[in-house]
């Protein structure tokens, strides 16, 4: 069963809300009573020092981790338990902190893989590659080509991704997430390890995705300049606890945030 379409929700209204989520691994508490929301059409940043629980938060949102306490509402549906497959089918796509592509496959095939959940014909039809299966494949390929054009990666269309530089691999990964036509896109450190020029390119693509496709984006990022430029609102986590939730300008001035980043004597 598919979740209700995101188009029912107007821009600016809450698309996803996290309520009192607590996640622990044995004795280690990764998240403690964290609540915040993501509004449709915005770019939401999640920041915090190392080990603050940012990636755990993303993993909870897309159902990879099950929180011990609390709930998540996505498109008006509240749930406590979900599998990643359901999240993906429901319109949540993500990229990973360490690139997770199919290394031996071309950029084109990797992005095409993002269309898997949109394929209506079974594997048998696809193997025959005739009639409706062919029509469908052409339609999917067209969507993928639009994404390739959008991300300006025509030159690497047929190159196995293992041979690509890191910055381009990240871009292919973004392409694969976009191929799912998600309502909510989760980006886990999209600019980690990039040089200045690659960072600028990636920033431009994130803004363009948000602008052009109207995709809601939640991103984790360490580069404060990027976070301040890109995001509409920022959540700050420290040791699994939310310590601030405001606009970038306000967060910059927040004493608790400054202390968390610079460290204070206890």
């Amino acid at each position: 069963m598919r979740a209700p379409a995101a188009s029912d929700i107007a821009a600016g209204e809450v698309l996803l809300s996290v309520e009192d989520v607590t996640l622990s691994f044995g004795g280690v508490v990764a998240l403690r009573d964290v609540s915040f929301d993501i509004k449709k059409g915005e770019i939401r940043a999640i920041i915090g020092p190392n080990g603050a629980g940012k990636t755990s938060m993303l993993n909870v949102i897309n159902g990879f981790y099950q929180p011990q306490k609390g709930s998540i509402s996505f498109k008006g549906e509240t749930r406590t338990k979900m599998r990643p497959y359901d999240a993906a089918d429901g319109g949540i796509a993500r990229t990973f902190q360490n690139v997770a592509l199919f290394k031996g496959m071309s950029a084109l095939d990797n992005i095409l893989a993002g269309r898997t959940l949109k394929m209506k014909r079974g594997w048998f039809w696809q193997m025959l590659r005739i009639g409706p299966a062919l029509t469908e494949e052409i339609e999917h390929r067209k969507r993928v080509e639009e994404i390739i054009d959008f991300l300006e990666i025509q030159a690497i269309r047929k190159v196995p991704v293992a041979r690509l530089p890191y910055g381009l691999q990240k871009r292919v990964e973004l392409g694969r997430a976009l191929a799912m036509e998600p309502d909510l896109l989760l980006l886990d450190e999209p600019m980690a390890g990039m040089n200045l020029e690659e960072k600028e390119d990636m920033s431009r693509f994130i803004i363009d995705v948000n602008d052009h496709y109207g995709t809601t984006i939640a991103l984790i990022e360490h580069d404060m300049g990027v976070v301040m430029d890109l995001s509409d609102r920022v959540v700050v986590l420290d040791h699994g606890v939310k310590i601030a939730d405001a606009t970038p300008d306000e967060v910059k001035k927040d004493q608790a945030v400054i202390d968390a980043y610079l460290g204070v004597a206890h």
Partner: protein, 658 residues
Amino acid sequence: MASRVSADADTFPKLLVRNARAFGERPAMRHKDLGIWQTWTWAQVLDEARAYAAGLHRLGVRRSDTVAIVGGNRPRLYWSVTAAQMLGAVPVPVYADAVADELAYVLAHADVRFAAVEDQEQVDKILSVSDRLPKLEKLVYDEPKGLRDYDHANLRAIDDVIADGRKALAEDGKLASWLDAEIAAGKGSDVSIILYTSGTTGQSKGVVLSAERCIAAAMDTVAFDRLNERDEALSYLPMAWVGDHYLNYAQQFVAAFCTACTETRDTAMADLREIGPTFFFAPPRIFEQMLTRVMIRMEDAGVLKRAMFRYFIGVARRYGEAILNGQPVPFAGRLLYALGLLLVYGPLKNVLGLSKVRVAYTAGEAIGPDLFSFYRSLGLNLKQLYGQTEAFLYVTAQPDGQIYADTVGPAMPNVDIRIADNGEVLFKSPGMFVSYFKDDLKTGETMTPDGYVKTGDAGFFDAKTGHLKIIDRAKDVGKLRDGTLFPPKYIENKLKFYPNIREAVAYGDGRDFVAVMINIDLTAVGSWAERNNVVYGSYQELAGHPLVYDMIAKNIEETNRSLAEDPVTAGAQVKRFLILHKELDADDGEVTRTQKVRRGFVAERYAPLIAALYDGSAEADISTEVTFEDGRKGSISARVKVRDVATVPVKPAMGKAA
């Protein structure tokens, strides 16, 4: 001279009308969009260009206005050229990778009122300097991505302009006949285009070319290489460069062949393979990159393939060129070559996209004799030409079958060449320029009183073949302190023939000896490092590696041996060298947009390094400012080592020349 061009085909719009009538259903233009090649016939191109011209007219473009064209090779930008010419306006293509400052200079100097640009990047660049362009009124763009939220008061999508023009033409019969009259009113003596030179020496100049001269020049070369409507070319070199305008526009319109635009700037090599052009032009560095790529991949191939490749490349080296030139070759040689063609040369040319090439040219700088004969031995009809923007490209070209690696061929038909007393090459040609735009002083300096154009290159006619040989820029040929001849480019080119050396800059004029600064080739040296387990973290680190220094020193020693063979150049052997810590970059002004080194500027910028080359020190510190692509500045500092190299002792001259 101009009388050869008939009055009903003396402008490019008139040629387009002719082609649409004569070859209406034949392909004229291709472009890969969303992964699929789209094709327009000559009739469709005429239709698009007419609609576009009508739309531009409605935007306010008038006769003799200038229209800047900034972007990659895209059909709509080529149609911008034609549409402007239909209205009697003058297109001014500008290098797409020019930084905002250079762009502002050209647009202001050319008084442009309109600009047709590729995408958001170019729109942003122009908007950022709009206060320096008071005459600029409207911008039209091809690619709408990212531009949706811009203020569209003076900004339009080219698609909208074409649609608007098409609607107006359909509704208003008078507009259609007005446009026909406007096309017919164009004269051969009208300014057809203004091409700005890349500016090897100082600020770039606007070279004014007239329609009839452009067409006359193209007619000569189309006949020379027997090009026709069944030929196909790939457009991937900058539109603002004379070569692209000549090969892919002037020749295309005259011969009515099909031009394919690459998908993006980075896909040229893949597109080349898919299109398989019959006419191909590439500067030597592209041929070099192709060969480097082949060689690197051969290193990774299996033993059998590698052995086969080596053996048959050897066969090609022995017989290939002779077969191509129609010279006698023993039967066994022909047989082996045929086998090689089947097993190696054919598949190799196919991979490179050169299978169908009938005529290929290279120019712009000297090509390495080895590189040149490598391609020729594979059966590729690669030839050299010599020319410049002021000549509308061609001055000389090598005819089929008379190819010598070190000459650029005899004068083209209808071209007259004279060597001045100081060795400078002068010419008079069908395509020669009218003047420099708004610069009569420079025009006067470049033209001789009897109407020849000074090329600024020193050269002579080879006694044996009668072909022209170019040595260097006339003003660059210098002398060492002891009076020995010092041709810097000659030495640099010899060095650049080594795959490890991407760029070399030689100094010696007025000095005691010759010294060079080297840029290593990251692809070649990087691959060598990988094979030899040399670890490096950056270009700078690799460039400073002692083993890299050893390797380059060996290359220079070989160069010295070759320089020593000729008594004229024996004194100009390289005594000291260093490897630069960064690549010379057009954004920093160190090389021109066509990748020619600005020797004087580099010397100023790296003054401490030059000093170290000549004062005998073993290393020197240098800190330089670098400009990023978006115009911001940063700085790089490094400690660069200087090395001595062995030279071949010069034998004292055997008695004085009589």
